[in-house]
């Protein structure tokens, strides 16, 4: 072979995460994000997407899903991006929505009221009624992030869930944070129930070790590593020390930019393996996606094809 297995031999200085450069640690929900992003999005059936850009502020997409596992149909989605440009990549407000042929709607509205304050509202309408809604407010300080989330808050019945997060950059290698979840309402035992978790992220230049621990015994550990340029891999372990169940997975991502290809693969402790291959067919703006999933225990193998235009 003319070139080595992974092509590039020179060491490229790579900056993995902008939040590691600034002193702000990001939000508590994004603690395990780097590892979770390596996990392939496996699907079954045929997925066709057509993206149309109508103007610099407005885009729509048409999606057709044909599958025997997931309910198939047509989905229409729209994205509106506002006029408040904070930096090159962040423009606010952002309004996203998609609706399928049965009238089920999912929307997302993100707005930045102040350079440090960001609000996000998520709503879901299913079968003609408002099935779920959630409002999140993040305050990004100098080296900390605090956020409050209200989920399904019902003023009439006085029920809902309130979640508070706080994440602080303690030293240049360590972020510590906590989460408090309060559920209140008539259906809840004793009218109120609270739960807390503690999270951390210990990181270096090329790696991150993060985790979230719960007094109910649930433990979630993630390790992310970026090795020689096209390969990133991550290991994830989820354990419940009360029910004594645990599962772990190893996932990796290979970016072959000269072949315009991204490949994500994973192996699981439940004897399953899955992979997604995404290839850009230049010069036309086409993306071709292949997904495969092997479950060796049940001997069931599922595959998916996707094609995106635009």
């Amino acid at each position: 072979m003319a070139s080595s297995a992974f092509g590039q031999t020179e060491n490229e200085p790579s900056v993995i995460d902008p939040t590691l450069l600034s002193r702000n640690p990001g939000t508590f929900e994004d603690l395990n994000k780097k590892t979770k992003d390596l996990y392939p999005i496996i699907f079954e059936g045929f997925k066709f997407t057509l993206n149309k850009v109508i103007s610099t502020h407005f885009q729509i997409n048409h999606n057709i899903i044909l599958s025997s596992v997931v309910p198939s149909g047509y989905k229409f989605g729209a994205t509106y991006v506002g006029v408040n440009q904070i930096s090159a990549s962040e423009v606010y407000p952002i309004v996203l929505g998609d609706m399928d042929s049965n009238g089920n709607l999912n929307t997302n509205i993100i707005h930045q009221f102040h350079p440090n304050v960001r609000t996000r509202v998520v709503a879901q309408i299913a079968d003609g009624i408002l099935a779920g809604y959630q409002m999140t407010n993040d305050y990004k300080g100098n080296d900390f992030t605090a956020s409050i989330t209200a989920v399904n808050s019902d003023i009439i019945q006085n029920s809902g869930v309130l979640i508070g997060h706080y994440l602080q950059r303690v030293s240049k290698n360590l972020d510590l944070g906590c989460e408090l979840l309060v559920q209140y309402g008539r259906n809840v035992p004793n009218n109120r129930m609270a739960l807390y978790s503690v999270g951390w992220r210990y990181f270096g230049n090329m790696w991150q070790f993060s985790g979230v621990v719960n007094p109910l015994g649930s433990l979630h550990l993630c390790y992310y590593h970026q090795s020689k340029s096209p390969l990133q891999f991550g290991v994830e372990l989820e354990t419940n020390l009360r029910t004594m169940e645990s599962s772990s997975s190893f996932s990796y991502q290979v970016d072959l930019s000269k072949a315009n290809m991204t490949f994500k693969g994973m192996v699981d402790s439940n004897w399953t393996a899955g992979a997604v291959l995404e290839k850009r067919l230049l010069p036309l703006p086409f993306t071709f996606v292949l997904s495969g999933f092997l479950n060796h225990v049940k001997a069931s193998y599922k595959f998916g094809i996707g094609f995106t235009i635009g």
Binding site: G7, V254, L256, A259, F263, G265, L290
Partner: protein
């Protein structure tokens, strides 16, 4: 003649033991522990080789199918990309010429705007 028949009858009655019976009798030479120990070793090695065969069958299937899904596409795409790169490099060399000797020998005039690559 009668004596021979008697001898034959006697010989038939004191018939030689078959080979199996002789070997079975020979095993009584060994003590009970040796016999049972060697019997159990034999049985366990038979069952171990059977289960090894079964496990290696499913293990080979799992490893081969998982390798095909997880590693093979990367190798194929990487090889395709490197071959395309080599072809593009060859095309560029044909067009621009890697050295003065080959270009002057070919005799083709250099297109305007392209400096000869030295």
């Amino acid at each position: 003649m009668a004596l021979e028949i008697e001898e034959n009858i006697d010989n038939l009655e004191i018939e030689d033991e078959t080979l199996g019976e002789r070997l079975l009798g020979l095993s009584e030479m060994f003590p009970e522990t040796v016999r049972s120990f060697s019997g159990s070793i034999f049985n366990s090695s038979v069952s171990a080789s059977k289960s090894l065969y079964k496990w290696s069958r499913s293990g080979l299937w799992i490893v081969a199918s998982t390798f095909t899904i997880l590693i093979l596409p990367i190798i194929c795409e990487e090889q395709r990309a490197s071959i395309e790169e080599q072809q593009a490099k060859q095309q560029r060399e044909l067009l621009l010429g890697p050295s003065a000797a080959t270009s002057s020998a070919a005799g083709a005039p250099m297109p305007l705007g392209f400096a000869p690559v030295k």
